[in-house]
């Protein structure tokens, strides 16, 4: 599973940057076509739901998705064998 922000919905309120325990959402820097500064994702592969959703067969964490007032945060299925960047945390 892959975390994604729907740029057609996000209004750039940055509430997501406040609630993720991994601080995956970072304030964005550049306005998009609609003039909205959409947050950037910092190593989203660390997200609990991305990693474990299929193993547990249910939604995990999901605090960012519930908090986002504009229903912009969602997960998309990945292609099989899509290359992964591996983040090692010490």
């Amino acid at each position: 599973m892959k975390l994604a922000i729907d740029e057609t919905r996000c209004k750039g309120c940055n509430l997501c940057t406040q609630v993720c325990p991994y601080r995956i959402f970072k304030e964005g820097k550049h306005p998009n076509r609609r003039g909205i500064v959409v947050p950037e994702l910092d190593r989203p592969e660390r997200c609990t739901n991305c990693r474990l959703r299929h193993l547990y067969g249910r939604q995990l964490c999901g605090v960012c998705q519930l908090t986002c007032p504009d229903q912009a945060i969602h997960w998309v299925e990945e292609e099989p064998y899509e290359p992964h960047k591996v983040a090692i945390e010490y």
Partner: protein
């Protein structure tokens, strides 16, 4: 299988301002509704007028967007005519406690089997930021330019005093807790009242020194006092600071209720 299935995707993005807490409360309420396993045909959302009351317009089920303050009166009608339907009411502090105040206390007294979710942003958001019955003392609004001098209503205490079976208060920061409270409310026969403190950055935050939405969320978080902790403080005779909001499940009881389908009602 998530709250997204209950939203009319063709109507999104909604018209709420950036950072408006109403969207968060809709998510949490729909997540709870989704977990009940109810059919969309058997579920009805009712609201009055206000930014908060626009919520049912974004939901796929049948809904009633009624006149200002009258959501509970219409919901009572739906429930008495068709007790088999699941009825959820979205309302705002102005809608519920100002113009709709009498409907509120009598719906609680009658203990009608509804779940009422109030998005309390402590202001009239839609009409440009006039003070509401829940605007805290000292806060600025267009009708209280020198700071509100009236004491505010505590909506949850009001619902408890008037007889609601289930009462809980959370905030737009406590999303998981809020979802759980709404679920308990949906499961509880009789009137369930869930108060959600939310931010209105445009008409409340901006006038009350919250430059960013995040600042107001930090404030709400820091001024939430868990009921369990409040009770401990009371036991030890400690004073409860006036600016704290008690959050948690505040009441759960089983007074006689109305609008419950015959087969479920006690003999």
């Amino acid at each position: 299988m998530s709250f997204n299935e209950w939203l009319r995707q063709d109507r999104l993005p909604h018209i709420y301002c950036a950072g408006c807490g109403n969207g968060t409360i809709i998510n949490c309420t729909l997540a709870a509704v989704d977990s009940m396993g109810w059919k969309k045909e058997d579920t009805v959302f009712v609201s009055g007028i206000g930014c908060s009351s626009r919520a049912p317009g974004y939901i796929v089920t049948d809904s009633l967007h009624t006149t200002h303050g009258r959501a509970l009166a219409f919901a009572t009608g739906v429930k008495m005519a068709r007790p088999d339907l699941h009825v959820v009411v979205f309302t705002g502090d102005g809608d519920l406690a100002a113009i709709g105040g009498n409907h509120f206390i009598h719906a609680c007294r009658r203990n009608i089997d509804l779940t009422v979710v109030c998005m309390n942003n402590q202001i009239y958001g839609m009409t440009g930021g006039q003070g509401s019955p829940t605007t805290p003392r000292g806060c600025l609004s267009t009708t209280t330019p020198y700071g509100c001098t009236e004491p505010a209503f505590d909506l949850s205490e009001l619902a408890i005093a008037a007889g609601a079976n289930f009462v809980a208060r959370w905030t737009s920061y406590h999303v998981k807790e809020l979802e759980r409270a709404v679920k308990t409310g949906l499961e509880t026969p009789g009137l369930s009242f869930i108060e959600a403190l939310v931010q209105c950055p445009t008409n409340f935050g901006r006038r009350n020194k919250f430059k960013k939405v995040a600042d107001q969320i930090e404030y709400i978080k820091a001024h939430s006092l868990l009921k369990a902790k409040r009770d401990r403080m009371l036991e030890q005779g400690e004073p409860i600071p006036e600016d704290m909001y008690v959050v948690g499940e505040l009441m759960k009881r089983s007074r006689p209720a109305m609008g419950i389908p015959k087969k479920e009602a006690a003999p």
